[in-house]
């Protein structure tokens, strides 16, 4: 990977929450890069640390969370390298939304119910915009109109509406438009389609796809929904117990998975196309992040687990060009996957 167009580089990031029961290690030694024109999806179950990771990229972690180690380096439009872990409040305020914006998971409740949509735009511009306040009045209305059109909403109707007058899908699109207001280089979306109906989900996916095709910025998705990653991601990172266990191009991760957890997730999701499939769930439950298992954190649920897995946490290893996985037995996983390759629905249904 060339370093030139990377907009974000995260290295060895560790985040923990202090709780009554002990330290919750939500993010453990995560490293990745994002280029300024690609979309990267983090997939994993609840408690895999993906939301914490997303929040850390705009430094909006809750009070009891702390970044114990690592760096988050952001390259701004003016080629300046910022280490987010060291920024002060004022610098962060200028960074957020102008460089990197986030669309929150609870988008349906994230808008202020007593404020019109227009005022949400004004607020965002005022809080994060230029200090001399160039984005206000006419200029602000024009930019807000443009952003709403980008997400296929009717600005005349939406700008003067209160949140309760809009449907869930429209509110979600307003949240995306707000994210775009200051033209960020990175947009983080936390479960952007969860809790929306299928046809509404489709509308959001199409909006995001168009944005991705027509504008140059990086998107980072956080989702438990594999199909969202299949739709929109250029690269996919599978997360488990606070770390990335597999990272690669979307085709690599879906068609040549090398980590048993990725394989398990793929085997657990039914598709609508094709015949009835054999599906199986991953045995056991996601781990307790306070008392993590020894060695590889997936070993208690893994069909490939051996003594070595119980003792040593595997490092990320290159398994193909541009694809890495953290598994001692990835070669075995690969040959097993290839051996039953024929039964995999998509490859079959599609390449036949």
């Amino acid at each position: 990977m060339e370093g030139r167009d990377e907009v974000l580089s995260v290295r060895d990031l560790e985040i923990a929450y202090a709780t009554g029961r002990g330290l919750v290690r939500a993010v453990r030694g995560v490293s990745f890069d994002v280029r300024d024109d690609e979309s990267l999806a983090f997939i994993g179950e609840s408690g895999s640390g993906k939301t914490t990771l997303g929040l850390s990229l705009v430094r909006l972690l809750p009070q009891n969370a702390s970044i114990a180690r690592g760096e988050i380096v952001f390259r701004t439009a003016s080629e300046e390298a910022l280490d987010l872990t060291t920024l002060d409040d004022e610098a962060l305020r200028r960074f957020r939304w102008r460089e990197c914006a986030m669309v929150f998971q609870s988008a349906l409740n994230a808008l202020n119910p007593v404020m019109r949509i227009r005022d949400h735009f004004a607020d965002t511009a005022k809080d994060h915009g230029e200090t001399n306040g160039s984005l206000k009045g006419r200029a602000l209305t024009e930019r807000a109109t443009e952003c709403l059109q980008m997400v296929q909403l009717d600005p005349d109707r939406v700008l003067k509406a209160f949140p309760h007058e809009l449907s869930g899908g429209m509110r979600q699109r307003v949240m995306i438009a707000l994210g775009l207001l200051l033209n960020p280089r990175v947009l983080i979306l936390d479960e952007p389609t969860t809790a929306l109906d299928v046809l509404t989900q489709r509308a959001i996916i199409e909006v995001l796809r168009t944005l991705k095709d027509e504008h140059r910025f990086a998107m980072i998705f956080v989702s438990h929904d594999l199909s969202l990653a299949a739709e929109l991601a250029d690269r996919v990172a599978t997360t488990y117990a606070g770390r990335i266990v597999e990272l690669g191009d979307v085709e690599q991760v879906f068609y040549q998975p090398r980590h048993p957890y990725t394989v398990g997730l793929l085997d657990a999701v039914p598709t609508l196309a094709g015949e009835q499939q054999e599906l199986s769930s991953i045995p056991g439950s996601p781990p307790d992040l306070i008392e993590l298992p020894s060695g590889c954190k997936f070993h208690p649920r893994c069909p490939y687990a051996t003594e070595k897995c119980r003792e040593e946490d595997p490092p990320m290893t290159e398994v193909a060009a541009g694809q890495t996985a953290a598994c001692w037995h990835w070669e075995k996983v690969a040959s097993d996957w290839e051996a039953r390759g024929g039964e995999r629905h998509g490859r079959d249904a599609h390449r036949a």
């Binding site: 179950e45 609840s46 449907s167 899908g169 429209m170 109906d197 299928v198 046809l199 509404t200 989900q201 489709r202 509308a203 996916i205 438990h224 929904d225 594999l226 199909s227 969202l228 299949a230 739709e231 979307v250 085709e251 879906f254 068609y255 398990g264 997730l265 793929l266 085997d267 657990a268 999701v269 039914p270 598709t271 609508l272 196309a273 009835q276 499939q277 599906l279 199986s280 769930s281 991953i282 045995p283 439950s285 996601p286 629905h345 998509g346 249904a349 599609h350 390449r351």
Partner: protein
């Protein structure tokens, strides 16, 4: 297990009154036969849960009747009413809210067994509890009997809910989105366990879900009913409905669903809706409720009369769409008023 069919006959449920009245379920009919699986699919607000609650006897229909073995549930004599209550059990969506937090698993499961006098002695109770837990895959049972809900994961709690439903040997289980709050990696395990109940114990299911792919997996041998704004728009065998959907709403749902396969999902044929937004139940469109969004819409034909549930009827496969009826050579099922309205607007 017994074999009593449950029929819903033109069942409706209204909320509110006057011009604020909402028809949450409007004239829905179907029968659950013994051992059968029927999935109700639809978006939020389509009336699928309300339909399920009416079938379980938790909600009375505003119009229409729910029949148990041919008798209206409301007028069943005391004894038979009790057996209806036992025959139909419900599993709720949220396993965090549906179990009493201060009761242990043993207490949760013993209560219905003792109330309905289904066990005679303590030893019998113990054997039965162990068996129930094994049936729902909570093994070894000793590990779970003394636990309280907060000590269990979402998936395990949902299994306890299933075990509780099984205590009274039900004929039908109404499962209202039983897996939607469970982690992805555990969902299929739960679904497969429920499928096992259907196969091993012959329990019939009314399975309510918003996820067509889950419905397909769960009722491959059964049927799917698609609801939209309180109405059943298509009802037929799963395999046929998934492969050759008749109603444009079903087609839209299938084409919109993202799949966990990059090539498949990115190359899928998309159906363009005329409007992305769902109409309000308070202000329903005339004629077919889907017509403002429908890509097959024909002026006059679609916005005059509401299509009957069986406007298309192909060997038990029903769809409420006049355009599809005409395309499939069932023009005779379109009422004269709609034909007239269409022709008038065509010439105008």
């Amino acid at each position: 297990m017994g074999g009593t069919p449950i029929e819903l006959e033109h069942v409706s449920r209204f909320y509110g009154s006057g011009n604020k009245q909402v028809r949450a379920v409007d004239d829905v009919s179907f029968t659950i036969r013994p051992g059968e699986t029927l999935c109700l699919v639809g978006e939020s607000g389509c009336g699928k849960s309300t339909t399920g609650r009416m079938m379980a006897g938790l909600l009375e229909p505003s119009e229409g009747r729910v029949l148990y073995g041919g008798t209206e549930v409301g007028s069943l004599p005391e004894e038979e009413r009790k057996s209806f209550r036992r025959a139909v059990q419900i599993i709720h969506q949220d396993p965090y809210a549906s179990l009493n937090p201060i009761r242990s698993v043993t207490q949760i499961l013993s209560a219905p067994l003792q109330r309905h006098k289904l066990v005679k002695s303590r030893t019998e109770l113990k054997t039965r509890l162990r068996k129930l837990l094994e049936t729902v895959g909570l093994t070894p049972p000793e590990d779970f009997l003394k636990k309280h809900p907060h000590q269990l994961s979402g998936g395990q709690r949902q299994r306890v809910s299933v075990a509780r439903a099984l205590t009274v040997n039900p004929e039908v289980i109404v499962a209202d989105e039983p897996v939607s709050m469970v982690d992805v990696s555990l969902r299929i395990g739960l679904l497969n366990m429920l499928l096992g109940l259907q196969q091993d114990l012959g329990v019939a299911f009314l399975f309510i879900t918003h996820d067509l792919a889950v419905a397909k997996h769960f009722s491959w041998e059964g049927r799917i009913g698609v609801m939209y704004l309180g109405r059943m728009v298509e009802l037929g065998s799963t395999q046929r409905l998934v492969r050759e959907p008749v109603h444009p709403y079903t087609r839209a749902l299938i084409s919109a669903l993202p799949e966990a396969d990059p090539e498949l999902t990115r190359n899928k044929q998309r159906l363009r809706l005329r409007s992305p937004d769902i109409p309000s139940l308070l202000n329903l469109p005339t004629g077919c409720p889907f017509h403002p969004r429908c890509p097959m819409y024909e002026e006059g034909l679609c916005d005059t009369d509401r299509p009957a549930e069986d406007a298309v009827s192909l060997g038990g496969h029903l769809a409420a769409c006049y355009v599809a009826a005409r395309e499939l050579g069932q023009e005779d099922r379109i009422p004269e008023s709609s034909k007239k309205a269409r022709d008038m607007r065509k010439t105008a």
